[in-house]
Each structure stands twice: as structure tokens, then as C-alpha cells.
Amino acid sequence: MCLAIPGTIAIIEEETATIDYGGTTRRASVRLLPDVAIGDCVLVHAGFVIQKIDPDEGAELEALLKEVELL
């Protein structure tokens, strides 16, 4: 039930977005995150877009490992 899935916003019509999950599309509500645009990578949970995802993954892990060094 807590499973959230990343996808990309393909279409927005009022409160509903069509999300592209690498080929398969599903609809989800943007009621909880109205400030999204086509092309945004987002996290979808139980039919709702809940958060935007920053795409830059590799760099992030590096930065985190540096942060841990300072603990």
C-alpha cells in the first residue's frame, strides 16, 4: 500500500495527469501537487502525484558520501 512509483508527466487535464511509466500510461490526480508541468519526473502513490523527483542521481550519491564523511 505504501508503494510509490516514479513516472513522467505526459498530459495534464485539470486535476488529472497522465503518467508515463516507461511505456505504460496511467492516470493520477495532481490534487496534492498542483504545481507540476509536462515532462516532470514525479512519485505517484495510490493514484496521486505526491512529490517531484530531481533527476540527477549519480551526482547525489557522491554528495551524500561526502556528507557522511563529515559526520
Binding site: 490534487r31 505526491i50 517531484k52 523527483i53 540527477d56 550519491l61 556528507e67 557522511v68 559526520l71
Partner: protein
């Protein structure tokens, strides 16, 4: 050398010389991901991972399940719920069994499915059975807000929603045996990372918000072990591509407009003050329990299920005498065996029944 190996080695170095250290995860998806990636096998012997009360199915009290069953039995009611709730047993009954006996129980992929159905079937009383933590409460609030906006009168909500912080406070007080906390990434994507600051600040526990990939989990564990070693607990956001310091304001405003904290019973853990959410009094006409004048149900504790100890991180699922014998995913006795996010089910699936 790949990243996983590098991080694993750094964990081993950081853990050297530490006494037995227990890290608790409180997210069902973490429980599942940790088993799937075999994370436990990558950690040194003195670092132990335990599952806390992070699976919403597992912590829903039998009293609440009994109320949901009572709602489903009402002749004019269509009850919508998440699929995971269908098989949770209460005594000899579950929603799935009621369905096979003709009750109108439906699985929703989104709570808004209940609203669409209510509009199409104005003669039915549609009830949304809301369970879950900060990740699902805003969905229920959005459902209610849209029902009100669209003037839909035949929809109500049975709220078994819970909140994480007060439960953690109750659970992780002194002598909890837990040394550090792996914080739930998806909950934090809604609440904001700062909602978990009380762990280091009030409870002196190292805390790290983690994602769900092997590297993400390992970096978070590395941060926890490092803090444990240095004796300086802090909060690390190891999932910054999704989790921001501040909350999702739209979600928070919706939840605040509809819900108020209340005392709640957690399965296996008992009553935890102010750890549940009920509808605000001004919205009581949307409250299914009030609308159908249901009486609270007292459910006697009857079997040898050790779910409470599993949820507290006190025992491994395999230490429950029923595990893998009478309690299996096909025939769950406790809720932890029902959802794939439950600790017992995750153990059963990835580590086999025979251990």
C-alpha cells in the same frame, strides 16, 4: 569496484569496534526492499536491522477491522479499500470472506475511485476505508474535499489513519533497544524531512531518511553507523532527490482542514495517545461510524500471535511459534503476514519458511 561494494566496506570499517547496534526501519516498503536486495547479508554481524510498525495493514487494530466488517455487512453499503486490507483477519472473518458471501466490497487503486462510483450510483452508500500514515491521509482528505465540492452526499469515510511521530515517541523511549532509525522515504516526501528532527533532538537517536534502492539504503545505513560511532546523533536526508526539508503544503493544508489528532489503538502495541486521525467535528456527516451509528467493538485477544513483539522490533518473525507453520501468507493469522510489506510476509517470501 562498484558502489555497493564501496559503501559496504565503509560500513564495515565504521562498524568495527561498535557493540551490537540495532537499526529499526519503519516503512513497509523498506522492509520489503531490504529483504529483496539482501541488505542484511551485506552488513557486519554487530549491525542488526529490525522492522518497526511501518506497515499500515499490520498496525490496524482488530477493533477497527471489526468496524470495517460491520460496515461491509450493511445492506446498502459499498465499501472501498486498498487491496491489502481484504485479507486481514479479525477472528474468523475478513473482508474477502464477506465479499464471497455477497457483501459489496471493492478494491480501490485510488481513493478517488470511491467518489467516481458514488456519483454513478447515487442510491448506494459508499464508504472509503482509510488506512495508512502520512502517505495516504492526504489522499483521503482530497477525496473528502472533492466530494464536498461536487456535492456528493452518499460518500463517507471510515478513518483508521495513523501518524508516525507520536508512535515513534512512544515506541522509542528509554530501553527500547533501538539505537538508530531508518526513516520512511515516502512518508518524509509528504511531511518533509524536518518532521523527523525530533529523533536526534528529543530522543538522541541518529536518523536517516532513505530511498528504496540498494545504494540508497546502504548510504543511509552508513550514515547511521557513522553517527553511532561518533556519538553525535543528527538527521540525514539520504533521499534528497525526492524528500525536501519542508512538507508538501497542499497535502498538509488538506489534512488540517479535515482531520484532528485522536488517541488510537495500534494492533499489537495498544493505545498510543494522539497517534490517530479522526474527522473534525464540523465534518461529522462524512464520518461513516457516526453516519451508521456503529458501536465500538471490543475484540478479545486470543491467539499466540507475536505481532506486537515483531512490530516493536523485539523478536524476529521466525521467533514467533506460529511463523511458517500455521501462519503463512495463504492463511495469515496475524496482519504482519498479510501485506507483502509486513515483516513476517517479507521474511517468509525471501528467507524461506524453513528457518
Amino acid at each position: 569496484m562498484n558502489t555497493i561494494q564501496t559503501i559496504t566496506e565503509r560500513i564495515a570499517n565504521a562498524a568495527a569496534g561498535l557493540p551490537q547496534t540495532t537499526i529499526m526501519e519503519v516503512c513497509g516498503t523498506h522492509t520489503h526492499a531490504i529483504r529483496r536486495h539482501g541488505i542484511r547479508q551485506l552488513l557486519p554481524e554487530n549491525i542488526r536491522l529490525v522492522s518497526g510498525p511501518g506497515c499500515p495493514v499490520c498496525v490496524t487494530a482488530e477493533e477497527d477491522i471489526a468496524l470495517a466488517l460491520a460496515l461491509a455487512k450493511l445492506p446498502n453499503v459499498t465499501l472501498f479499500c486498498f487491496g491489502d486490507m481484504m485479507r486481514v483477519p479479525c477472528g474468523d472473518e475478513s473482508l474477502l470472506q464477506l465479499l464471497s458471501r455477497g457483501a459489496d466490497v471493492r478494491i480501490a487503486l485510488s481513493p478517488l475511485d470511491a467518489l467516481a462510483f458514488a456519483k454513478e450510483h447515487p442510491a448506494r452508500e459508499v464508504v472509503w476505508y482509510g488506512v495508512g500514515f502520512e502517505t495516504t491521509t492526504p489522499h483521503t482528505a482530497a477525496l473528502l474535499e472533492n466530494a464536498k465540492r461536487d456535492n456528493v452526499k452518499n460518500l463517507s469515510v471510515f478513518s483508521a489513519h495513523k501518524t508516525m511521530p507520536n508512535a515513534l515517541r512512544a515506541l522509542l523511549g528509554e530501553d527500547s533497544g533501538v539505537d538508530a532509525l531508518l526513516c520512511p522515504g515516502h512518508v518524509a516526501s509528504i511531511t518533509g524531512a524536518d518532521a523527523f528532527r525530533f529523533l536526534p533532538e528529543e530522543l538522541r537517536l541518529p536518523a536517516a531518511i532513505s530511498g528504496f534502492e540498494a545504494e540508497e539504503l546502504l548510504v543511509a545505513i552508513l550514515a547511521l553507523v557513522t553517527m553511532q560511532k561518533s556519538g553525535n546523533p543528527a538527521l540525514i536526508n539520504a533521499y534528497p532527490r525526492v524528500v525536501k526539508p519542508e512538507p508538501n503544503e497542499t497535502a498538509r493544508a488538506l489534512v488540517d482542514a479535515w482531520f484532528t489528532p485522536c488517541d488510537a489503538v495500534w494492533r499489537g502495541l495498544g493505545m498510543i495517545p494522539q497517534s490517530g486521525l479522526s474527522l473534525l467535528p464540523e465534518h461529522s456527516k462524512y464520518d461513516a461510524v457516526k453516519r451508521f451509528a456503529l458501536k465500538p467493538v471490543v475484540v478479545p485477544f486470543r491467539n499466540a500471535c507475536r505481532c506486537g513483539d515483531v512490530l516493536r522490533g523485539g523478536i524476529e518473525p521466525t521467533e514467533c511459534p506460529l511463523f511458517g507453520k500455521v501462519c503463512v501468507p495463504q492463511h495469515p493469522l496475524g496482519a504482519c503476514m498479510v501485506s507483502s510489506e509486513g515483516a513476517c510476509a517479507a521474511y517468509y517470501q525471501y528467507e524461506g519458511a524453513g528457518i
